[in-house]
Symmetry: C2
Subunit: 498 residues, 2 copies
C-alpha cells in the first residue's frame, strides 16, 4: 500500500526474476537512491529494479562482517535455528510459585534484562527490588529494604533469562510470587512468567506502596491458587490451553501481543472460567476460598487488558530458546532491558549478552507525565518482538496507535520494515490486513548490521524515579552496539578464512 515507487524489497509479491544478466542482451539495472535516475532509465526502456540501500550500522567492523558473511555455516545454521523457533509450541501446563517453579529461595531475586547490580540499577528497578524485599517480609519498611539492597548482604540478583523465565518491565521475581509454567511439546522446553498485576502503580513499573504489596499478597493467596486449580483441571480434563493458538487468533483481533493483549486476555479467561465454576460446583475450591474469590479473579483478569502479556512472553521465550546454540547462527534469541542496559543474546554465541545503553521510548504519556519523567527502556517483554510479535506485528493492531502514538499507516509500515531484518515469515502468526502474510520473525544480526534497520519495539514506559509506576507507552529501538558487538563475537567464533 506504499504510494512511492515500488522497491524490490517491499510490497513485492512477484516471484524473484531469474538472474541471467551476463548472458542476456537486455541490460538489467539495479538502482539505489535518487529516483530521477531510475525514472530516466525507464523512459529509455530499461528494466529497473529499485533497491533500498543504506550504509551499514554505525560502528560495524568491516572485517568482522566479511568474516561472518563468509562463514559457510551461516545460511544453514540460521535456517535450522529459525525453523526450530517457528516449530515450537506453547502449552499452559501449570501455575506455581517461583519457589517451586524456579527453585528460588528467600534471598534470590530475578530481574529483567542482562545482569546488573544495585549500584547501576535504574529507579524503577530499584523500586521493584525494594517492593520485593517488603513483599517477602525481609524488611519492615522501604528505607531498611533499600539499605539492605545497597549493602548487598545476602541478596543474589540474576537475570530471569538465566533461569528460563521472563519478566515484564523490572521483571523482579521472588520465591513467593506465582507464575505461569509453559511447555513446548515439540522440543521439550519450559518457560516461566509471573502473573500480571495490572497497570499504573504496580511493582513491575517500580512502585512499592502499600497497595502494591497488598495486591501481590492477594495474588499469592487467591489469584495464583485459583488459576492453578483452573489450569490443572483444564489440562487434565481436555489438555492444556494452547497459548500459541490464542496468539495466532489475537493477531486477527487487533492485538499485537506486547502492548495490546485485550483479545488474548479474553480468550484465556473464557477457557478458565468454566473450570472454576465446575470446581466450585464440585466443592473443590482451595480451603478458605469461595465463589466471591472466583468472581474477584474473573474481574481482576478481565479488568486488565495486559493480563495475557505474561503468557505471550513465555510462549515467545519457548520459541527462541528452541533456536539457541546453533553454531554459526546469527539469529537473535533474546532482546531484554534492565532499565540501564539493553542486551541481546544470539544463537551462535551461547549465553553471552551484547549490551549498550537503553534508550528512552518515544510515545504517549499518562496524565501529567512527560518525557522528563521517563526511565530508559526496561523489561524482558522485547522477547515478543524477538519472536515476531509486538512491534513486529503492529500491522495487526492498528488501534495500538491510540496507546503508543502515530497513525494506522505507521503501524503497517512498522511491520513491513521488519521483514528487512528477519529470517522468516511466521507460519502461524499472520496478519489479515497484509493478506494473511506471516509476521516478520527471527532477527538476523547480519541483516541488522548490513541494512542499518533496527528492531522496532512497542513498549510501556516506567517512571524514572523509584516508586512512580507507569508513565506512558511508546516505541523504542535497541542501541546499535548490541548488534555490532554480537557481529564481532560471531566473527571470532567463525572458522578462519579458507
Amino acid at each position: 500500500m506504499s504510494h512511492g515507487p515500488p522497491y524490490a524489497d517491499e510490497d513485492d509479491d512477484r516471484p524473484p526474476r531469474p538472474l541471467h544478466g551476463l548472458i542476456d542482451a537486455a541490460p538489467r539495472v539495479v538502482t539505489a537512491g535518487p529516483e530521477m535516475f531510475a525514472a530516466a532509465l525507464e523512459q529509455q526502456g530499461v528494466q529497473v529494479d529499485r533497491v533500498r540501500w543504506r550504509p551499514p550500522l554505525t560502528g560495524t567492523d568491516p572485517a568482522a562482517l566479511a568474516r561472518v558473511v563468509a562463514d559457510a555455516r551461516g545460511d544453514d545454521a540460521n535456517a535450522a535455528a529459525v525453523a526450530r523457533a517457528l516449530a515450537a509450541g506453547a502449552e499452559l501446563v501449570d501455575v506455581l510459585p517461583a519457589r517451586e517453579a524456579l527453585g528460588l529461595t528467600g534471598g534470590e531475586f530475578c530481574h529483567a534484562g542482562p545482569p546488573i547490580g544495585w549500584e547501576r540499577a535504574s529507579g524503577p528497578m530499584r523500586g521493584a527490588l525494594i517492593g520485593a524485599v517488603l513483599f517477602e517480609g525481609l524488611a519492615g519498611d522501604a528505607e531498611t529494604a533499600e539499605r539492605m539492597l545497597a549493602g548487598g548482604s545476602g541478596y543474589d540478583l540474576r537475570p530471569c533469562h538465566s533461569l528460563g523465565a521472563v519478566g515484564p518491565m523490572a521483571g523482579v521475581v521472588t520465591a513467593s510470587m506465582w507464575g505461569f509454567v509453559l511447555r513446548d511439546p515439540v522440543h521439550g522446553g519450559t518457560a516461566y512468567c509471573t502473573l500480571n498485576e495490572g497497570l499504573g502503580k504496580v511493582l513491575r513499573y517500580g512502585a512499592y506502596g502499600p497497595e502494591v504489596i497488598e495486591r501481590l499478597r492477594w495474588m499469592s493467596r487467591v489469584l495464583g491458587p485459583l488459576l492453578q486449580l483452573a489450569v490443572r483441571r483444564r489440562r487434565d480434563r481436555v489438555g492444556p490451553v494452547d497459548i500459541r493458538a490464542i496468539v495466532a487468533q489475537m493477531l486477527h483481533m487487533g492485538d499485537e501481543g506486547h502492548n495490546r493483549n485485550r483479545a488474548g486476555t479474553m480468550m484465556l479467561v473464557r477457557e478458565l472460567v468454566p473450570e472454576l465454576l465446575d470446581a466450585a460446583g464440585a466443592g473443590e475450591l482451595p480451603a478458605g476460598l469461595g465463589l466471591g474469590d472466583v468472581a474477584d479473579v474473573v474481574r481482576f483478569a478481565n479488568g486488565n487488558d495486559h493480563f495475557f502479556l505474561n503468557l505471550v512472553m513465555p510462549a515467545a521465550k519457548l520459541a527462541l530458546d528452541a533456536g539457541r546454540d546453533v553454531p554459526g547462527s546469527s539469529l537473535v534469541v533474546a532482546m531484554a532491558r534492565n532499565g540501564t542496559d539493553f542486551g541481546i543474546q544470539v544463537s551462535g554465541t551461547g549465553d553471552a549478552w551484547f549490551t549498550g545503553p537503553a534508550r528512552v521510548p518515544d510515545g504517549l504519556y499518562l496524565g501529567g507525565y512527560g518525557p522528563d519523567d521517563a526511565n530508559p527502556d526496561i523489561g524482558d517483554s522485547a522477547i515478543t518482538e524477538t519472536a515476531g510479535l509486538g512491534g513486529f506485528a503492529m500491522a495487526a493492531a492498528p488501534a495500538i496507535v491510540r496507546f503508543v502514538g502515530g497513525s494506522a499507516d505507521d503501524a503497517l509500515r512498522a511491520t513491513r520494515s521488519m521483514y528487512e531484518i528477519t529470517l522468516a515469515e511466521h507460519p502461524t502468526y499472520r496478519v489479515p490486513v497484509l493478506g494473511f502474510r506471516g509476521t516478520p520473525t527471527g532477527i538476523d544480526v547480519v541483516a541488522v548490521v548490513r541494512t542499518g534497520v533496527l528492531p522496532s519495539i512497542d513498549t510501556g514506559i516506567a517512571g524514572r524515579d523509584a516508586g512512580t509506576g507507569q508513565v506512558g507507552a511508546g516505541l523504542v529501538h535497541p542501541p546499535e552496539q548490541c548488534f555490532t558487538a554480537a557481529l564481532s563475537a560471531l566473527a571470532e567464533a567463525a572458522p578462519p578464512f579458507p
Copy 2:
C-alpha cells in the same frame, strides 16, 4: 490507499473546495471516465477533479428521480434522520420471553423480512415455522405441524420489524422463546431479539430436528433465566451494559458485527459472568438451577462466536428506528429478507415495504454443500449493514474473508465503496486501519439510484430445503427494485414542483 488516480469521491480527506466556477477566471474541470483526457488537461495546467460516474440504477424513473431531487426538504430531512440514528444509544436492560416482551400468544409467530405467508415461504422459513410449532407444543410431529401451517388455521404470521423486533435468518419468534430487550436512552425506543442458538443445525437456518427443539427448550429453561438474572443484577448494580460501546470496541478487534462477532461475544460474556458468580455466591440462582448450569451457560455463549450478533441487531434497529418517519427523508431504515423477498423501509415513507426477489449470496460453503443447496438471502440481520456495520464495516474485519471468501483488500474495498451511498460517517463506529474513519452509515435511496452502487451485505447462507440448516456464508446485494420502487414512493410523497 488507492493506487489509482485520486477520485474526488474516494480517499479524499481534504475539505470540499468552494464552488465559485462562474466568477472564477481559471477553469475548473470535472472529468468522468477516460483518464487520458484528465491527464492531458492537467499537463496544460488545468485543475481537474476526477469523479466516478455510472448510469443510474436499472429501472429508475427519471421523472421520479427529478422530483425527489427537487424536494426542498430532502437534505435537511436526511440530515435530521441520520443525526437521530447516529445519536441513538443501545443499553441491555432485560432478558424476557417474547410472551412478555412482545405480547405474543400461542398462535402468533414473528418472522424475518417483509410480510409473507406459508404459500410463498422458502424452505428454511417453512422449516423454522415447523420447528416453532413443535417447540410450542402445538403439534406432535413435523407432518402435522406442516399440515396445520399450510392450512393457515389459527396462525398469525407477522414481520418481526412490525413489533419492534429483529430476527436473524428465518427470524421466527414465538411466545416461549427468550430474548434480549434493548433500550435507546436518547430517544426512548425499545428493540427485541431472541437469543442466538449457535451455528449449524439450528431453527433460524430452518432445521427442526429433535436436537434443535431440545436446545430451544434448554434455552428457555436455563439460558434465558440465567441471562435475565445477570442482566438485571448488572443493570441494577452499576447500570445496563452499553451495547453501543461494545460494538465500537469490536470494530477495533476484527469484528464487523454481522458475520463476525467473536470479540463482541467475549466482551458481553465477561460483563455477565461475575454477576452470575456473585448471584450464585449469594444463593440467588433461580430455583432448580445450580453452578453446573452457570458453567453450561458460559460454555454455550463462549462456544458460539455469533452469540453477540443478536445484540448488534437490536442495537442497529434502535438507531434506525430513531431515524424513521422524517417527511422527505430518503434514509433507508430497514433492509430485511424473508427468504423469498428482499424488502426495505425508508424514513419518508412510513411502514411501507419496497420489495424484490431475494438473491442467492456468493460465498463459501460448508462441508459438501454448494450453490445448488443455497436458499436466497434471508433474515433481518441486514439491519447491521443499514446501520453502518456488517458488510459496511468489512474493513474492520479482514479475517472475515476466510468465512465469506475474497481477499483482505476486498474487505477494504467493500467498506470504501459504501461511502458513495451513505449520508454520514459514524462518530462512534470507527475503523482503525482506515485511520479511524467512521463507518459509512445511513443508506440514501437517492444515492443508490444515482450511482447504481448497491449495498453490500455480509451474511449466512441457509440450505434451501426445510430442515437442512446452515450451508455457508457470503456476500449479497439487494435487488434494484427495492430502491427504484422506494424512489417512486418518495416522489409521490414529494410536494409538486413549484
